[in-house]
Amino acid sequence: MMSILRICVGINLDTNIKNFQAKQLNIIILGGGTAGWMAANIFMKKWSSKDVNITLIESPEIGIIGVGEGSTPTLKRFFETIEIPESDWMPCCNATYKLNIRFDDWSPKSGMASYSHPFTSQVDVHTSNAFLTNSRTRRLGLDTNTTPGDFLINGVLAQQGKGPIASENFPFIMEYGYHFDSHLLGKYLSDLGVSRGVIFKQAHIENVERKSDGDITALVTKDGERLKADLFVDCTGFAAKLMQQTLEVPFKSYKENLFNDSAVVMQTPISQVVPVETVSTALSAGWCWQIPLSNRFGNGYVYSSDFISDDAAEVEFRTHIGMLDSSEGCRHLKMKVGQVEKHWSHNCIGLGLSQGFIEPLEATALHLVQLCIELFASKFEQGGFSPKFRDEYNNAIEQRFERVRDYIVAHYKMNTREDSEYWRANRDNPKLSKSLINILDVWYKRDDLKQEIVRQGLSSHFDAVSWNCLLSGYGAFPPLDKNQPGKGDLYIENNVGSFLQRCSLNFDSHNAHLDRLKN
């Protein structure tokens, strides 16, 4: 029996690869949000030389969530991959540059009212070791500067309100992300995709046809049209029409690690000077984002409905953003944190919310979408639908989700707020992964955190600098030693401040950056 199976699989695998190399490949992407259009554009670009047909089907009846408005530097790579310059897409999407995330009021008791988690750039190689060393010596009781934003170029630029594009004589590559209007970005990518050959179809899917082995063969529209394809991409958001409703891939909830399940969102007018950072402020039962676009701020309060009612959350949110008396309405959203057990099942992959969701605290939603698309493309090119590559893909993505989750969980675990049961429950929550427990154990025991990050192979998720930003940013340190030698602070001894100050002279204001894009 086993051997017969193996032979069948063998044959199957063989034809699939052939399919992809020689024959035509038909892809249907279901759902026209940002995830769907990102996938359409990347596949189009990557496989332009192959015989690939890409159809994106969007239901005219279903709206998109469209609140994910911040990105990591992977979005920069995305536009580089599809060869679109910033001057083209950014003005269309009211986009701004994002260099940093600032966390306010997460750890008031430690004396750190605020800290930064800047994106690291090439030039940081000269200063980040001083940061890592300082945060270790501080753990040993020495009084050193451990403010993350002081050691990284993007942190310094963010403090000065400067953009990330340097004058020509600055010899380092800068990394940064963007803030954007996700509806406009969806629209932009949709127009682009169509202009590059993606077939766009508006239809409501009523039925899904499957083969006896479970693979999807076709989607059937309300009007009875059968849309056949070899590969299906589920971008239908939380509904997960293909992944969960059709293929019944189980969903693994993160509710026990991450309590938040709701959000309330609202826009406010933009300030005269447009910041280059997202601000994330801890409130009584969650946190509030403030994302600057060129024409407005997007704001949202992510909270746990177990600890605060929707009404009370709205009042707290409006008070925080100064919109208590405004007659304008808020949008309330529910969210489900977790991931599907398999991100690639049969001949279908989930992308975006249909594959899972981790709250937007580190703006990882589109980041994960893009990593998935890239990894999928590379695995698919190597092995088509073969189980080996599918399993590798699934394992890798599952790890991605879990490690991102861990980094987010650490934000809650390390809080020192005393204003509500919510924060205490988060601090005391013992539901931590092995990986996170090991990281924290190394930190508390004053051991080498970088070594542990490397040992666990975590650098590609969040590296030692990111982890040190977080843990130092929360001021998670023992009390200072009574005897201070008065030396050993590498911020001072390596002249980090003056070095970065001089670097920053190569940059001008964010507003000037945005003006240049318009012209």
Partner: protein, 496 residues
């Protein structure tokens, strides 16, 4: 001011505050208004995580369902404390809540045991103790039997913060009013000095007839306002600092607390359902806080789950635990290190004492004096028992232990030690929390062996004695073998 007591105000919402509010409201009911003032901005110490058996009585008087309690407070069963390196490095003994063997009329079991040793018995005393056997084998379930020999007295380990939250919900349901706020000022009656009201930040005024000070070491009312005074015992109990740190749970939940002596202090390990509680109690004359943190972290047997939390304290007791119309309960009433897990018990016993002497018709000097007298005795008895662990040591590895061996101890304690060393006799002072079996285990464990046994032990023929001991051991071992694992018991009680 000799008005009847209608309004009780509890200040501070840690374990002490909510235990007080709950029991007073439960027992005095509708005739008394109980409110509790606490501030979310003030943290609680919340490290008192181990208890002793009377906590079961406290819970049952409140009518708390045990399964719900275990689940809500992530509690585990505690049958004993295991002391490592206390007598000397490498030595271990248990102080169980049970008792070894079975006593005869007029003759405690350990006399019989000592005689059996002369007859060649190679077992140790604890082999006859069901709590010990359960603890060693990680077993537990209550046994339904009339036979006291099959008793397994137990207490709990629990998350004190969760316990306080649990009691808060419970108290609020009974009608205790919780008031959120920080005390800014306290007003007193000019003549009597009695506290009249608390002024909260924001202007709210809380009036009361009787105030329970549960503000921990800050002792906001009893000390800061009334200047009651403190008796310092640090010449006997020389540790003055503690570091507490949670760590990952073990795969198997052990049903006992562990106390490991280090060169200038000792380390606790308390198993809860979701994590272990750990801490190091030490003398800051011997370790810097930094060194202490290293010792603690390096001796953890599982991964640390947070930065160690530092607590500084002064061992001793409040001179009057009841002063004017303020009663100090919890750490405001004094501090004894958690070596025998007595902090939560002291809270409980203070509340019960207050309820016995409750001044519903007004506060009289006689009542206050009696309350203070009983409180003092209780504190001193527990103090003596803790000093015993330090005094009777044979460690030669550090100055700390050598000095302790040579220190002068309270007369009450030296008398007890001398009598036991002489002829094995144990006596329990009236109302002493610790029974003879507790004193016995610690005296023996710390290396004080009686020279002689009681002559009654000779009244049994040799063979009969040995076979009786054998029989007791067999019954107990057989009982243990039938008991489920501690984890299985917890799972049955709490679900998954």
């Amino acid at each position: 001011m000799n008005n009847s007591i209608k309004k009780v105000v509890v200040l501070g919402g840690g374990t002490a505050g909510w235990m007080s509010a709950a029991l007073i409201k439960k027992l005095l009911g509708s005739g008394i208004e109980v409110s509790l003032v606490e501030s979310e901005t003030i943290g609680t110490i919340g490290v008192g995580e181990a208890t002793i058996p009377p906590i079961k009585l406290f819970n049952s008087v409140l009518g708390i369902n045990e399964a719900e309690f275990l689940k809500e407070t992530k509690a585990t069963i505690k049958l004993a404390i295991k002391f490592d390196n206390w007598k000397n490095i490498g030595d271990s003994y248990y102080h169980t809540f049970g008792a070894a063997g079975k006593s005869l009329a007029f003759c405690q079991f350990h006399h019989l045991f000592k005689r059996s040793q002369e007859l060649g018995n190679r077992s140790q005393l604890w082999d006859y103790d069901l709590n010990y056997l359960c603890a060693e084998n990680g077993k537990y379930a209550p046994i339904n039997s009339q036979d006291p020999i099959l008793d397994i007295p137990n207490a709990y380990h629990f998350d004190a913060t969760l316990y306080a939250a649990f009691l808060r919900r419970f108290s609020e349901k009974m009608g205790v009013t919780r008031i959120e706020g920080l005390v800014e000022d306290v007003t007193q009656c000019h003549e009597s000095g009695f506290i009249k009201s608390l002024l909260l930040k924001g202007g709210k005024v809380i009036e009361g007839d009787l105030f329970i000070d549960c503000t921990g070491m800050a002792a906001v009312l009893i000390q800061q306002k009334l200047g009651t005074g403190y008796e310092d015992w640090s010449h006997w109990l020389r540790c003055d600092s503690a570091l507490a740190v949670p760590s990952e749970r073990f795969e198997k939940t052990l049903p006992y607390t562990r106390s490991i002596a280090h060169s200038a202090g000792w380390q606790w390990r308390i198993p809860l359902q979701h994590r272990n509680g750990n801490g190091l109690v030490y003398s800051s004359n011997h370790y810097s806080d930094d060194q202490a943190a290293d010792i603690l972290l390096n001796n953890l047997e599982s991964k640390a789950l947070s930065e160690p939390k530092l607590i500084k304290y002064r061992t001793g007791r409040r001179l009057k635990q009841w002063n004017k119309n303020v009663i100090a309960i919890g750490l405001s009433s004094g501090f004894l290190e958690p070596l025998e897990s007595t902090s939560i018990h002291l809270i409980q016993s203070a509340i019960v004492r207050l309820l016995h002497l409750f001044p519903h018709n007004g506060i009289s000097d006689a009542t206050v004096a009696e309350y203070n007298r009983q409180s003092q005795i209780e504190f001193e008895q527990i103090r003596d028992f803790i000093i015993l662990h330090y005094k009777a040591n044979e460690r030669t590895d550090s100055r700390f232990w050598r000095d302790l061996r040579e220190m002068d101890i309270p007369d009450s304690l030296s008398l007890k030690m001398d009598i036991f060393a002489e002829n094995g006799h144990l006596f329990r002072d009236q109302n002493d929390l610790f029974l003879e079996s507790s004193w016995l285990q610690v005296l023996l464990g710390q290396g004080i062996a009686p020279k002689d046994y009681h002559p009654i032990a000779k009244s049994i023929p040799d063979n009969k004695l040995l076979s009786m001991l054998e029989q007791i051991k067999n019954i107990k071992n057989e009982t243990v073998s039938k008991l489920p694992d501690h984890d299985e018991y917890l799972k049955n009680m709490c679900g998954d």
